[in-house]
């Protein structure tokens, strides 16, 4: 089981801030592909992965980042802090 967090408009469009996912996905990209196949709301949000950014165990990652030993993944739009 892995914890997946969503922020900003990703959170709004999926409808939840966090969920526990059972997955065999080996990378962030594979996980997103799996989620996109679940329901329309995921498919719409993940339609353009280049519009998203990710963090694995609170470190910035990308679609190729392995997730086998990760406990937490976050998916969000580009950051707008500062």
């Amino acid at each position: 089981m892995i914890k997946v967090l969503y922020f900003a408009w990703v959170r709004e469009r999926i409808g939840i801030p966090v969920e526990e996912i059972e997955t065999c996905a080996r990378t962030v990209g594979e996980l997103i592909g799996e989620l996109a196949g679940r329901e329309e709301r995921y498919r719409l949000v993940f339609a353009d992965p280049s519009s998203l950014r990710v963090a694995v165990d609170q470190r910035i990652g990308d679609l190729d980042t392995p997730i086998a030993d990760a406990s937490e993944i976050a998916i969000f739009p580009p950051m707008t802090g500062g």
Partner: protein, 153 residues
């Protein structure tokens, strides 16, 4: 070196004074204040800032640590707010302290450029006509990239 992420209003003057207090070895201090801007055309009511608790602190601490590795800083302080802010309120302050001015100027700018693209905050504008998530700016991505070339001594 310290970072605070808070929902409370930032006491800018007190924070700046605390950085230099008692540090007579410092000859230079630079402070940057980022405020909520009210674009006259969009009539901003409030700015909502969302963040990733846990990652925000470690991400900004990493940015600060990198600044201390690249420049001879005596000290630094970064405070970033989240929650609902009104036009004119302070979102972020970056304070840098060094023996001479160049390190403080450059490190403060570096910290802000990295903070814009690597600190997990997201801003949503609330106006009379609706709400929308602020998009990241190409200028900010470019600003971060220019620090990749070696810094001349």
């Amino acid at each position: 070196m310290s970072v605070t992420i808070t929902a409370d209003p930032i006491a800018t003057e007190a924070e700046i004074a605390a950085v230099s207090s008692g540090r007579t070895e410092a000859g230079a201090m630079v402070s940057f204040t980022g405020m909520v801007r009210n674009d006259p055309e969009c009539l901003l009511d409030s700015l909502e800032i969302e963040h990733y608790p846990g990652m925000t602190t470690t991400a900004i601490e990493d940015i600060e640590k990198t600044a201390h590795e690249r420049w001879p800083l005596i000290d630094s302080r970064i405070v970033h707010r989240y929650g609902i802010l009104r036009p004119g309120e302070t979102i972020v302050i970056v304070v840098t302290l060094s023996a001479h001015r160049r390190a403080s100027f450059e490190a403060a700018e570096f910290i802000m450029d990295y903070l814009k693209t690597r600190a997990p905050f997201w801003k949503k504008e609330h106006t009379a006509t609706g709400s929308n998530w602020v998009a990241s700016r190409t200028d900010d991505s470019r600003a971060e990239m220019r620090w990749s070339s070696p810094v001349a001594d």
